[in-house]
Amino acid sequence: MPTIVVDVMPKAELLDPQGKATTGALARLGHGKFENVRIGKRFEFTVEGEVDEAVLAEVRQLAEEILSNSVIEDVVAISVDGEAR
């Protein structure tokens, strides 16, 4: 069964408090060379049958309208079984 993956990240120009806190924790553990950690979300959809253009269009729309909020986040990648689409 094909898996469609949607990756959503907080907008680059906005503060990512989770990422900032994690960056600080890594620095305290001696991993200060990682200057910036940012945390996003990964959504996995499994679908029956073939992933055609209609299914992809539906996923793209869901990604923009429901899975992400365009004010604070960007949809950065959509892939099907590991292949970028």
């Binding site: 503060l15 004010v71 604070i72």
Partner: protein
């Protein structure tokens, strides 16, 4: 007939009963509305209460924003019905695109609860007409995701068109841009804010004030404003 103000209960709403009580205290009739219905039961105004609808899953307010009753809430708001979103209700309003911008995790990552001073920046809305422009009030604030953000263009528009309803006074408690605590739409019928007016409605149970502990009742005037706005319309 008294004014009927609906309060929508979503799975995870916490302050729906407090909002109903506030409505009762200003002489209006609270009406319980259910997220899964497509029925506003003929109410005159709507409150979207605080809490953690759907456990803040996906984004705070995001799943509630696509719940059945929101179709009717958005439609009614478009026709001018007064709608107040408190805390999680404010998050639902921005996720429903009834108000612009977004709300993210507090900049300091902590949940915060404090008696919060606010400046009334727009006293010409359905929910703020009982205040004076520039008046300072105190109501409780309690949230984890209260950081208001928007792009520069939106911020300029909010400022230029007087759509900032409330600003934090004193300390900015959550990193909100331009100290924004609450917004109104252009028409003034939809207002959303992070702090909680419904927790400042009864002496003895409100925020601490300079003259006496727990005596703050500035929240009552939000609900009095709605009753006045609806009375003026008839």
């Amino acid at each position: 007939m008294s004014t009927r103000i609906g309060v929508v209960t979503f799975p995870g709403s916490l302050d729906d009963r407090d909002a109903q009580r506030a409505i009762r205290l200003v002489g209006a009739e609270p009406v319980e509305l259910w997220h899964a219905d497509h029925d506003l039961q003929g109410v005159d105004a709507i409150v979207l209460p605080g809490g953690f609808s759907y456990g803040d899953y996906l984004r705070p307010g995001a799943i509630a924003a696509v719940s059945p009753i929101m179709t009717e809430v958005v439609e009614a708001a478009g026709k001018g019905m007064p709608v107040l979103g408190i805390c999680n209700g404010f998050q639902v309003l921005v996720e429903s695109h009834l108000l612009p911008g977004g709300l993210i995790r507090n900049a300091h990552q902590q949940f915060i609860r404090r008696d919060q001073r606010l400046v009334v920046e727009n006293a010409d809305t359905a929910w703020t007409n009982s205040f004076e422009q520039g008046e300072e009030i105190v109501i409780p604030l309690k949230n984890g995701d209260g950081g208001f953000i928007a792009d520069d263009e939106t911020l300029k528009r909010l400022e230029g068109e007087g759509l900032i309803a409330f600003r934090y006074a004193g300390v900015n408690p959550n990193g909100s841009l331009d100290d924004i605590a609450g917004l109104t739409n252009e028409r003034g019928n939809v207002v959303g804010l992070m702090p909680h007016p419904e927790h400042a409605v009864e002496p003895g149970f409100g925020p601490d004030m300079p003259d006496a502990m727990r005596s703050g009742i500035d929240g009552l005037r939000f609900f009095e404003s709605a009753v006045a706005a609806l009375a003026a319309r008839v």
